[in-house]
């Protein structure tokens, strides 16, 4: 990391693990769960959030001194909404099928708590470059969880990854299916996303016991 000072690098690496937006800060779960049945949708969602959060953080940080604090929530929402409209139109133009799968969840990036949380907690108090790094770091942390969940749900649920049949053909009984393996259709249903994230939290907190909650 020759380009970045140690402090700047920490802005990116911290949210990837020990300060992850989803598993530790409990932000942005709303849209994280519903779209993770396929790996492809998760990746696209992660990229969209990286785009919106990084740019939004920069814009907020640039105008942070002229936003009247009373109406800042509306200003933040409008900036987020404008960026999300760009993402939505791009998806509709270049990946129409995928934008149908994501349906309203692209729009819901606006109210994704990560966006508001980082605007409020970081971009309003820091310069544009730092805010940009913070945006990248946090949205990447969000994206990693999304991709992990998407990976397991697609692999165990339909035996494919990005639509490629990695476990063999379920109908012609090739690959592992020849040995009596069955797809677990349950993984594709919404509740399993919650349980998968619960398990990720479990693994993460057993590895780093400092994160355990006491109450």
């Amino acid at each position: 990391m020759g380009l970045l000072s140690k402090k700047d690098a920490k802005l990116i690496t911290d949210p990837l693990a020990d300060n992850n937006p989803i598993t530790i800060q409990v932000l942005g779960i709303c849209s994280a769960l519903a779209i993770t049945a396929e790996l492809k949708a998760s990746i696209v969602m992660a990229i969209s959030v990286i785009f919106v959060l990084a740019l939004g953080n920069v814009v907020i940080s640039l105008i942070r001194n002229i936003i009247p604090s009373k109406i800042r929530i509306i200003v933040q929402l409008v900036i987020a909404a404008a960026l999300v409209i760009i993402v939505d139109q791009i998806l509709k133009a270049f990946a129409y099928e995928l934008s149908k799968t994501l349906s309203v969840f692209v729009g819901l990036i606006i109210t994704n708590c990560i966006i508001m949380g980082r605007f409020e907690a970081f971009a309003l108090a820091n310069g544009p470059w730092k805010s940009f790094l913070d945006g990248i770091g946090n949205s990447a942390g969000y994206g990693i969880i999304l991709i992990i969940v998407g990976f397991f749900r697609e692999l165990l649920g339909s035996g494919t990854l990005l639509g490629i049949k990695v476990l063999g053909d379920a109908i012609e009984k090739t690959g592992v299916y020849a040995y009596g393996y069955e797809n677990n259709g349950f993984m594709l249903l919404a509740p399993m996303a919650l349980i998968t994230i619960g398990i990720i939290i479990w693994v993460q907190r057993s590895r780093n016991t400092a994160l355990i909650e006491h109450n």
């Binding site: 409008v78 109210t111 708590c113 259709g185 509740p191 619960g198 939290i201 479990w202 909650e213």
Partner: protein, 240 residues
């Protein structure tokens, strides 16, 4: 009949939290005590009852393809639906602010119990999600839109009430330390969502020959959950 059907569908089958995972952030953050959960839930019902019909009017008279026809025939070809995110969220944010001011002026008691939750609600995904689902499911009339807002709000209220009650009790249980707090809440919510899936057949069982035509008119099935179930069913058929 349409109203009753939509009411139960929005509360149980398409429950905001368990079927579409909307409003999860505040659902997880404010569900530690039953009393606060009730306050937030009531505020959500209240705001959704106002914003969903309002956004329905916006959608029908301003944003939809050809919605501007009432201005004159030359405006009929405009389609402003790409603006719907920004319009909806602006409506919600201003309505929340307005409601806060009005409630503070006329009912200080209500303000004291709901007030602190109102700003939280502007960024609650359930509110925007309610409006967006209202748009994508093509709800037909203003009355139905109001009904949809109220009943989705009630569904969310029920969910947060249930999880808050469970979390108050689970404090006395011996949960593995790494799962305490957030982890176990996720897993419980997952199990509750599986339970709520059993409501799925509630409105289709028995009178299937008349319901589907009505439902396809009212509800366009563009939902991920349903697609996932379809895929799962297909898989099952294939493997069988």
């Amino acid at each position: 009949m349409e109203h009753i059907e939509l009411f139960f569908k929005a509360i149980f089958i398409d429950n905001m939290v368990f079927a579409t995972f909307l409003g999860m952030c505040s659902y997880l953050a404010v569900s530690k005590k039953v009393a606060t959960a009730v306050g937030l839930g009531a505020a959500v019902i209240f705001v959704m009852a106002i914003t969903v019909p309002l956004n329905w009017l916006l959608d029908v008279y301003l944003l939809k393809d050809g919605a501007l026809a009432w201005l004159g025939p030359e405006y009929a070809q405009y389609d402003l639906s790409f603006l719907s995110f920004i319009m909806f969220i602006a409506t919600i944010a201003t309505m929340v602010q307005l409601v806060e001011i009005i409630v503070e002026k006329f009912s200080p008691a209500l303000y004291n119990s709901l007030g602190i939750f109102l700003p939280l609600i502007a960024v609650n995904c359930a509110i925007l999600g309610g409006s967006l689902f209202m748009q994508s499911r093509e709800i037909q009339t203003l009355g139905l839109a109001f009904n949809y807002g109220v009943s989705s709000g009630i569904g969310w209220f029920l969910a947060i009430l249930a999880i808050a009650a469970i979390r108050e009790k689970i404090r006395y249980s011996n949960v593995p330390p790494p799962l305490r707090g957030l982890g176990i809440t996720f897993i419980i919510t997952g199990l509750m969502a599986i339970g709520f899936m059993s409501f799925g057949g509630m409105l289709t069982g028995g009178d299937e020959e008349e319901v589907p035509t009505k439902q396809t008119a009212i509800v366009k099935q563009v939902e991920i959950k349903k697609e996932a179930i379809d895929i799962a069913n297909n898989e099952k058929e294939i493997t069988e």
